[in-house]
Each structure stands twice: as structure tokens, then as C-alpha cells.
């Protein structure tokens, strides 16, 4: 009897190991362990055994059944794993096909640069102020110490609407309007971005362009403060290694006046075509607010001092994005806009 049981076990294990799919394993289960299965029928014949033999044989039979079941389950798991693997291997995408297309619109480079400049000065405590683009001669020139017939008016060829009204040639009139409104309150710290207009149209001049003006007035503002603020600006705008250089210059509305150069962003100061081999690029004009300008706008030039600066947004955008033709900024060609 015992021999028979062991024979069944060997046969079953052999068949289980040879099975290649789940159906075969099921058949094997029925064949050996089912109600009419081989093991079951052997157990049924236990009744004919000598009672003293029964416990021992019964134990052997249980071991055989457990062994077969264990092997069956193990084989089922193995097969399932293999099948899953096969299935996954068959389900293959061409992962190089492009994804679903979303079109992200772009902001104009003028906007991008303006925002960056605004954010730098917001961080330094400056507020943003705007002013009219069609402006009175008074605010654009006279109140900035540029009376009629001043030779420096030639530096800014002007579009006139009428003898008294013009298209502002710079964002500086916003300075005056702000001071008029604030005086004599201190401190004043503003920047004024916006469109400005000059009668010039060629490869390097556009009749409309963008400027950002800055103004700080307080009881003890110094030219060294102006240097400090603009140094921070240059470093944040063009990179921490950017060097700045202040050159004396002339603007009727500032005294002393300066022009600010930064080390060339293309060559790093070694000299290249962009910087005319000088290593420096001019980026803005600035100075200490002229006492006449302060007085005309309601501040005492003895009690208050301040600095002002003005920069061209296009110029900075062109340096930042290495654009070599001003006109592409206003052509609004899709192939250009899509790059930002």
C-alpha cells in the first residue's frame, strides 16, 4: 500500500513538472486528487487494511497529498508569472512617436525683459509707476531742465502733436509727475516702464521703443548709492560676474551725470564685434537729479537729493537673447515669437 502511494506521488510530481499550462495542471489535480482521482481511490481502499496499519498508512497518504498540492501550487505560480511576462512583452508601443501636442503661447521678449527688470527693482523697494505716452512739452522737456532751444533737445528728435503736446521721447516725464504728486514726502522710489518715441528709423533705431526709468529721492541719497543699486541690477540681470563701469556724461536733468557700461556679455570683456573690441557695452544713462528739476517739482534741493536712471529695454533684450537686428522685435514673425 505504501509502495502504491509513493508511486502515485512520483508519478504526480513528474506530470506536474512537465505541465506547460494551467489547464494541464487542472487536469492533473482532478486526475490525482479529485473525487475519482488515483490518490482518492487508494485512500478508499484503506478500509481493507489491517487496523493496526491504518494510522501509519493514513499518515503517509496525507504527506503524499500535501506534497502533490504544494507542487501544484508552486507550478501554477511559475506558469502565471511566465504568462504575464509573455503578455507584457507582446504589448509594445513605439515610444518614439510624439506625444499629444499642446501649444504653449509665448510672451514677447520685451515683456520678459521688462518683467525681469521690474522684479529686480521691486525687490529693492521700488514701486512701478506709469505715465501718459502723449505728453506735454512741459513734462517731457521743460521740467527736466530742457528749455526750448536747448541744444540737448537735438539728442531726442521729437514727434509733435501740437507745439505743446508731443509723443514722449523718454520715460523721464514720469519722474516729474511722480515728484509733483509726492512732494514734499520722502522717500520716493519708483521705476517707470513704458513706450517712448523718437523720429528715427533705421537698423539700430525704431521710432517706438521701450524704456525703464528709475528715481530715488530721500534726504541723503548719494551717487555711491546709485552705483550700488545699478551694480546689483547689472549682476542680477546679466550674471553675478558682470562688471560695471561709470563714465561721466551729460544729461540736462542730472548733475553729476554718468553712463554705465557693463563688461561685454558676449566676450566677457576680452573684446569682440558686439562691444567694438572695447570689452564694454553701454547699457544706461544716470545721474544725481539736477537741483533745478527737484525745485521745479516741489522739492528743496538742499533738503532732498536723489538719483535717476533710464535704460532701453530693447537694448537689454538684444544683449540678453543675442538678437542682432532691432527690427525683428517689432516684425512679430511667428518663427521669432515661438523662440521665447
Amino acid at each position: 500500500m505504501e509502495q502504491k502511494l509513493l508511486a502515485i506521488q512520483n508519478k504526480a510530481l513528474e506530470e506536474i513538472n512537465a505541465a506547460v499550462d494551467l489547464d494541464m495542471l487542472n487536469d492533473i489535480r482532478v486526475h490525482f486528487l479529485g473525487k475519482k482521482g488515483e490518490l482518492t481511490s487508494v485512500l478508499r481502499s484503506m478500509a481493507s487494511l489491517d487496523p493496526s496499519e491504518r494510522p501509519r498508512i493514513g499518515q503517509v497518504a496525507n504527506i503524499v497529498r500535501d506534497r502533490i498540492e504544494e507542487q501544484l501550487n508552486q507550478q501554477i505560480n511559475t506558469l502565471r508569472e511566465r504568462i504575464t511576462k509573455q503578455q507584457l512583452a507582446a504589448e509594445k508601443l513605439d515610444i518614439t512617436m510624439p506625444g499629444t501636442v499642446f501649444e504653449l503661447g509665448r510672451l514677447h521678449p520685451i515683456t520678459l525683459v521688462t518683467r525681469q527688470i521690474e522684479d529686480i527693482f521691486l525687490g529693492l523697494g521700488f514701486n512701478i509707476v506709469e505715465g501718459p505716452e502723449v505728453e506735454l512739452d512741459y513734462y517731457n522737456f521743460e521740467a527736466l531742465n530742457l528749455p526750448k532751444d536747448h541744444p540737448a533737445r537735438d539728442m531726442q528728435d521729437t514727434f509733435f502733436i501740437s507745439p505743446e503736446v508731443l509723443l514722449r521721447t523718454h520715460t523721464s516725464p514720469v519722474q516729474v509727475r511722480t515728484m509733483e504728486k509726492m512732494a514734499p514726502a520722502l522717500p520716493v522710489k519708483i521705476i517707470a516702464p513704458g513706450k517712448v518715441y523718437r523720429r528715427d528709423d533705421d537698423a539700430t533705431h525704431s521710432p517706438m521703443f521701450h524704456q525703464i526709468e528709475g528715481l530715488a529721492i530721500d534726504s541723503k541719497i548719494t551717487m555711491a548709492d546709485l552705483r550700488g543699486v545699478l551694480k546689483i541690477f547689472a549682476e542680477q540681470m546679466f550674471g553675478i560676474d558682470t562688471k560695471t563701469r561709470f563714465r561721466p556724461s551729460y544729461f540736462p536733468f542730472t548733475e553729476p551725470s554718468a553712463e554705465v557700461d557693463i563688461s561685454c556679455v558676449i566676450c566677457g570683456g576680452k573684446g569682440c564685434r558686439t562691444c567694438s573690441y572695447s570689452g564694454w557695452l553701454e547699457i544706461l544713462g544716470c545721474g544725481m537729479v539736477h537741483p533745478k528739476v527737484l525745485e521745479m517739482s516741489g522739492y528743496s534741493s538742499q533738503d532732498a537729493s536723489g538719483f535717476a536712471f533710464g535704460m532701453g529695454v530693447e537694448r537689454i533684450a538684444m544683449l540678453k537673447y543675442r538678437i542682432d537686428d532691432l527690427r525683428v522685435l517689432f516684425d512679430n514673425d511667428k518663427r521669432f515669437l515661438d523662440q521665447f
Binding site: 503661447g105 512701478i128 502723449v134 517706438m208 552705483r227 548733475e255 553729476p256 522685435l329 512679430n332 514673425d333
Partner: protein, 757 residues
């Protein structure tokens, strides 16, 4: 201003390289924009003399010259030049010489005759041909016969000179002169300035039998005159011509060249009259209405009453400080001259030269303001030079009519204020030293400096001007970097600034590109956009002096600019494009000088959104645009608006457009562009556009986001199918549902529309 280094070195000892000098000048406020060495590329060209010329046996147009360069060997050179003769001294390029432009000279046979070099023109030597006489520019450059043979031509003609090109700011008229620049250099390098020595002024008073009468003492504060007899008009000596050429001024004759030389040297413009053509005395007065003058350039000028003229008894003989008259011009026949050295009012000169369209070296100096105290010195210097070169004899006497003499003005410089404004610590002595070097008179009084500016510094009048002088010589770059000290301020964007920023981001994220276009436009935009003359959009702010018709009016709507851009891109085969712009429109206001400037948001689109292999793009149509609008409105919590069709006479298709109304105000319009306009812009059918009043948008958008508690239960949706008449619009159905739905209705969505037969 062109500054010859060789010339400059006559006044100041320069012991640094030209590059370093340029840098120092630039950093002190005299920007050096460039450096020129005319003969940079030149080598192997020498001074030679032609001692024999014979005809070429095989060519009519060639001649054979025998040249000596002073050595034992002579050179045979074949040339086609027509302006040479035996005895002429000329530039000779020998074998292997290099000319301007890189040409290398080789020994050659010209029609069988050997030629060992080339005779050179001014152009071949790298000289500025625009200021050379034609025969020297194109023909062989005939040299001063006194030049030593064999001398390197670069030395002979100063072609090895370095010329600094200064880009001066308008306040520094004093540096439109060699002395002015030399003074700056001397100050920067702490060297002594050596001024040209002049004969002392003649006894003042009169020139016999001649007077200068100044009628307008405001416009002419000083008039100095000298008289010369036995004048021989000729070419000026080579050294004067060389100086003028380096400065970019064309040599003309000894008399004119000397006046120009003194102008370049001292900054005082001068004029020489042919004395024998002047009738009676000189009167400096404003022109009478309708007076005419033929100026030196041969053009007849009609003068107006505010122009200052130099006149004699017959009428104007010169436009003061701007240009001389043809009748009194110095010519070869001139034998007596009157030399003028005067001060004219800068504003008057500027107006006159502008209205006559005449700008000269002279007027550009006068209009920046010249040294009132320097007129006599300049006249003396010119007299001395004329005598030196033997151009004539100086008559006794000297006129110095000086009604505008000014008392010296003292400016007080407070060192502590200077240091307060600059944020540095310069000592009183250092400031005093800098100003003294710049020829300011400085007197110490208590802790202050009492300073008076020299006559040439017409730009210095207040304390801040002195502070700048000290600072620029001290060096801006020696100042520290500090940050404003005082009450701290907070930098924040205003509500509308923040909103504009978010609107731009929102539209970009919806797939639209931002554009930036000009605020001025062509007035034909009205016609092109079918806008009638009566429309409010046709009331325009006009530019009085536009660059072109295309920039001559300020826009009243942004749509034409956007259609223009779509059209331009469409012509570049871009068929799908969606764009937006935030910009201003300009609306004239009755009885106001300035127009109203309104912030507008405009959108325009054509074609389809992008497609892919697994996704079909959507058409940029009315509903797509409306979707963008709804998304934008949702983002900024704008609700409670209604749409109306009332869009007669606008740029839109009447059946496919809408006006957005909120609280009886029009927030904007949108829809398909009128087919007629689409045609005018050569655009594909179905282009859509929108304009929104951003100020109103900001006003009604809800700033504060307020959280609503989430419902406890999941939502339930109900399908509702309605059969309605074709005339019923969805807006009314929704309104009716909302009115009757009670508080639990959250959202109404149209999921399908069916139109049967």
C-alpha cells in the same frame, strides 16, 4: 571732434600710449569713439623728385618718369598720371611697398618698358579724399618741394599720426578745440599745459576810417576785428594743411586755412571778409524782413527778422556765425581783408542754422557757447599766424567792441555737501587742486571754496557742476558701492499691474503668442477696416511731423495692428496663428490738451490650433475665441455679463459677433472679422478677433479668492433635452433654468445640439 596726437603733443607732454590716453579721456567724460591711423597699412613709400619725363614708345597715355629719392640709385617708373611735371616732388612707392587697401607694388613691364614702382594719389596713401582737392585725390599727390627726398611718406604727411575721434556731449563745447582737449589731458596726467604764444594785443581803439557798430548787444556781446593789407592769397604751407586734414577740414587758401586753424586750436570760429567789397562800416544787426543774401555755397537765402547778420551799408554780407556771403568772400584777387572774431548768442545761432538748414563747423561751436573772454586772443593768434606765413601786412589798430562784458561769477563749493552728494570723502585740498588744474579760480574761505569758472566753461554755473568736475577727474570708479540708507520702502505691483501680468500669462497658457506693435499707424486703417468717418474710432490724434504716412496717427483700436501681423505671417505661409497684445489706444478729448489713453487687450487668430497624429486641431472660430474669453473671465471671476448682437457698423461679421455687456457698460467685442476686411488684409476666411477694455475688466474682476466649503455628497448630473424654436437663444434658456433651479444647481453644460429638418 578729431584730435591729432601729434598736434596735441605741441601743447602737453603725453607719456602714455594712445590706447591708455583714450581710456583715461573716456573715463573722464570725453568719450573716445575710435582711433584712426591714416597710414596704418602703408610701407615702402618715400618722398621722390621727378627729374625727367619722356613719352612711352608704345602707349599714348603712359609716360616714363625718372625719379630720385635722394640716394645714388634712381628709379624708372611708368605712370598714366596727367598732373605731373619735371621737378615735382611726389610720393613714390618702390618695389614691395604696401599701399592703403593692401596693394603690394611689384616690379613690372608696362607695354614693354620696365617700371620699378608707382607714383601715388592721396587715396592710395589712405588719406580722406573728401577733403583733398580732386587733382590730389585722384591724380598724383604733389608734395611740398621743400620736403627732403627719401623721407618716409608717413612722416612727411603725418600719416603715422594717431587721430582720436571724440564723441563730445553737448555741454563740452570747450573741447571742440585742441587747447580744450589738451587742458583735459594736462589735468588728467597732471602735466603743464603750454599755450601757443601770441603777440600781445595791439593798442585798442580803432582801425582808421572803419567802425563796427553792434545794434543788438544781446545777440552779439563782442566783436573783435583786425585789418590786413597787401594780402597774397595762396595755398597755405604744408604744415597747416596737414593739421587741417588731420582734423577733417579741407584746406582752401592761406587766409581761410588760418581762420580754420585758429578755430580748431582755440575753439573760436572766425571769418575773413574781402575788405574791398565791404561798403562803409560793419553793422551787427538783425535782418530786415525779406532781406536776401547769397551765401558762400552760392545759394540765395531769404532772411527773417530774428536772424542776426553782419551788414554793411548795402545790406547783409554774412549770416552771423553761420555762413559768409559770396560777395565778400576771400578770393585770389583779394588784397585787403577784415578778420572777424566775435561772440554770437547760442540760441540765436541755433535757430538760424536750423531754419536755414545750414550747419557749419562755425555754427556748431557758437551754438554750444564759446569763450566770450577769448575773442581777442583768437584774433591775435590768427594775426600772428598770417604774419608768420607771410600772407599780408597787419594794419595798425584793433577793434574790440565788447558791450557784453560780464563780471566774474563766484560759485560756492561746500566740501561737506560735495561729499554728501557723491558718497565719498574728498579733501578740500584735493578738490581745490583738481579745479585749479582745470583753470578754475579757487579761493578758500572758512571751510568753503569760492570758485569762478574760466570763460571757456560756459556749462558750469552751479555748485553741482563743480561737484561733477571734481568727481569726474577724481574718477567715478573710485567711488564706493553703497545702498540707500533711510526709511525702507516696499516694492509692490499695483492691482492693474498685477492683473496685466496675470492676463498675459493666462493667454499665453491658452496657446496665444504675445505681440508688440507700434502705437501709431496709417490713417488708411479706417478705410481698410470699413470704419466710417462718423465712427468715434475715426477721431484721431495726429502726429504733426511723422516719419511717414504709415506712422502718422495714433491708433484708436488695436485690431488693425493685429490683422496686419496675421496678414504678414500668412504671406510667409503661416496659416495657423493666435496672437494677443496689451496696448494703449488714444482718444482725443474735447477741450483737453492730452488725449485719453485706454488700456486695451486685443486677440486675433486664424486657421486652426495645432494638430497631431492622434489629435485633430480645432478651428480658431467664433466659439473657440468665445471659449478663450470664458476661460479668461472665469480665471478673473467675471460673471454676470450678457452678450448682445448690436454690432452694426463695426469691424465684425454682423451675424457672428457679439458685444459683451456688463452693468450697461460695454466690456468688449468679439467675433469673426467682416469678410470685406479679411479681403482687404489678404487673410484666409474666418479670422476672429476680440477687443476688451482692460480698465473696466480690472474694475469688475474679483480680486479676492474666497473658498467655498465642499458639498458633503458627490454631485448628481441630470440630462435635460429641450425642443425649442430656432429663434430661441441658449442664453435665455440658461437664464430661465437658473431662475427656477433653486440653490443646489452648480453648473449648466450644453453637451449636444441637434437641428432637425
Amino acid at each position: 571732434m578729431r584730435v591729432s596726437l601729434k598736434w596735441l603733443k605741441e601743447y602737453v607732454d603725453i607719456n602714455i600710449s594712445p590706447e591708455e590716453l583714450a581710456e583715461r579721456l573716456t573715463l573722464s567724460g570725453l568719450a573716445v569713439e575710435g582711433m584712426e591711423i591714416p597710414g596704418k597699412e602703408l610701407s615702402g613709400v618715400y618722398v621722390g623728385k621727378i627729374f625727367n619725363i619722356e613719352a612711352h614708345p608704345n602707349a599714348d597715355k603712359l609716360i616714363i618718369c625718372q625719379i630720385s629719392t635722394g640716394g645714388e640709385e634712381n628709379y624708372q617708373i611708368v605712370t598714366g598720371a596727367t598732373n605731373v611735371k619735371v621737378g615735382d616732388v611726389v610720393p613714390v612707392a618702390l618695389e614691395n611697398a604696401k599701399l592703403s587697401g593692401g596693394l603690394v607694388i611689384k616690379r613690372a613691364k608696362l607695354r614693354g618698358v620696365e617700371s620699378r614702382g608707382m607714383l601715388c594719389s592721396g587715396a592710395e596713401l589712405g588719406m580722406d579724399v573728401s577733403i583733398l582737392p580732386t587733382e590730389q585725390a585722384q591724380g598724383i599727390m604733389i608734395l611740398d618741394s621743400k620736403l627732403p627726398l627719401g623721407m618716409d611718406i608717413k612722416e612727411a604727411l603725418d600719416l603715422d599720426d594717431v587721430v582720436l575721434i571724440l564723441e563730445l556731449t553737448p555741454n563740452r563745447g570747450d573741447c571742440l578745440s585742441m587747447i580744450g582737449v589738451a587742458r583735459e589731458v594736462a589735468t588728467l596726467l597732471d602735466k603743464r599745459l603750454s599755450l601757443p604764444e601770441s603777440i600781445t594785443a595791439q593798442e585798442n581803439g580803432t582801425i582808421e576810417g572803419f567802425r563796427v557798430d553792434i545794434k543788438d548787444e544781446h545777440l552779439c556781446k563782442r566783436y573783435v576785428a583786425k585789418h590786413f593789407t597787401k594780402v597774397k592769397v595762396a595755398q597755405s604751407p604744408e604744415w597747416i594743411q596737414r593739421r587741417l586734414r588731420a582734423a577733417g577740414v579741407r584746406p582752401i587758401s592761406n587766409i581761410v586755412d588760418v581762420t580754420n586753424y585758429v578755430m580748431l586750436e582755440l575753439g573760436q570760429p572766425m571769418h575773413a571778409f574781402d575788405f574791398d567789397t565791404i561798403r562803409g562800416d560793419i553793422v551787427v544787426r538783425t535782418a530786415n524782413k525779406g532781406e536776401r543774401l547769397v551765401s558762400l555755397d552760392g545759394n540765395e537765402r531769404t532772411l527773417s527778422e530774428e536772424m542776426l547778420v553782419i551788414a554793411d551799408s548795402s545790406g547783409p554780407v554774412a549770416v552771423a556765425g553761420v555762413m559768409g556771403g559770396l560777395v565778400t568772400e576771400v578770393t585770389e584777387k583779394t588784397t585787403n581783408i577784415l578778420l572777424e572774431s566775435a561772440w554770437f548768442n547760442p540760441i540765436s545761432i541755433r535757430r538760424t542754422s536750423k531754419s536755414l538748414g545750414l550747419r557749419s563747423e562755425s555754427s556748431s561751436r557758437f551754438e554750444k557757447g564759446i569763450d566770450l573772454t577769448g575773442c581777442q586772443r583768437a584774433a591775435d593768434r590768427a594775426a600772428e599766424l598770417l604774419l608768420e606765413i607771410g600772407a599780408g601786412e597787419l594794419s595798425p589798430g584793433n577793434i574790440d567792441n565788447y558791450p557784453g562784458i560780464q563780471p566774474e561769477k563766484t560759485i560756492c563749493l561746500r566740501p561737506e555737501r560735495m561729499n554728501q552728494i557723491l558718497g565719498i570723502n574728498i579733501s578740500v585740498n584735493e578738490a581745490s587742486d583738481i579745479l585749479t588744474r582745470l583753470e578754475f579760480k579757487v579761493e578758500k574761505k572758512d571751510s568753503m571754496l569760492l570758485v569762478s569758472a574760466p570763460g571757456h566753461r560756459t556749462d558750469v554755473s552751479i555748485e553741482e557742476d563743480l561737484i561733477e568736475e571734481v568727481a569726474r577727474i577724481y574718477g567715478y570708479d573710485k567711488m564706493p558701492y553703497t545702498l540707500p540708507f533711510g526709511a525702507s520702502t516696499q516694492g509692490i505691483r499695483t492691482r492693474i499691474q498685477a492683473l496685466e501680468l496675470l492676463v498675459k500669462d493666462c493667454l499665453a497658457s491658452l496657446g496665444l503668442n504675445e505681440v508688440v506693435t507700434y502705437s501709431f499707424t496709417n490713417p488708411n486703417f479706417l478705410e481698410k477696416n470699413l470704419i466710417s468717418k462718423e465712427s468715434p474710432l475715426a477721431r484721431l490724434v495726429k502726429v504733426h511731423n511723422p516719419l511717414s504716412e504709415g506712422h502718422s496717427v495714433m491708433r484708436t483700436t488695436l485690431m488693425p495692428s493685429l490683422l496686419e501681423i496675421l496678414s504678414k505671417n500668412f504671406s510667409h505661409r503661416v496659416s495657423d496663428m493666435g496672437i494677443f497684445e496689451l496696448g494703449k489706444v488714444f482718444i482725443p478729448v474735447e477741450n483737453e490738451k492730452l488725449p485719453e489713453e485706454n488700456h486695451i487687450l486685443a486677440i486675433a487668430a486664424m486657421g486652426n490650433t495645432i494638430s497631431g497624429w492622434n489629435y485633430k486641431g480645432k478651428s480658431f472660430d467664433f466659439y473657440y475665441l468665445k471659449g478663450i474669453m470664458e476661460t479668461l473671465f472665469q480665471r478673473f471671476a467675471i460673471s454676470g455679463y450678457t452678450l448682445s448682437r448690436d454690432l452694426q457698423g463695426t469691424i465684425f461679421h454682423p451675424g457672428k459677433s457679439a458685444r459683451i455687456l456688463i452693468k450697461d457698460k460695454c466690456l468688449g467685442t468679439f467675433g469673426e472679422i467682416h469678410p470685406g476686411i479679411i479681403e482687404n488684409y489678404d487673410l484666409p476666411a474666418g479670422v476672429v478677433g476680440m477687443e476688451i477694455d482692460l480698465n473696466l475688466f480690472a474694475e469688475i474682476s474679483v480680486n479676492q479668492i474666497k473658498y467655498r466649503a465642499l458639498p458633503k455628497y458627490p454631485g448628481i448630473s441630470r440630462d435635460l433635452a429641450l425642443v425649442v424654436n430656432n429663434e430661441v437663444v441658449v442664453q435665455d434658456i440658461i437664464k430661465s433654468i437658473r431662475k427656477n433651479s433653486g440653490q443646489f444647481l452648480r453648473e449648466i453644460k450644453i453637451f449636444d445640439v441637434y437641428r432637425g429638418k
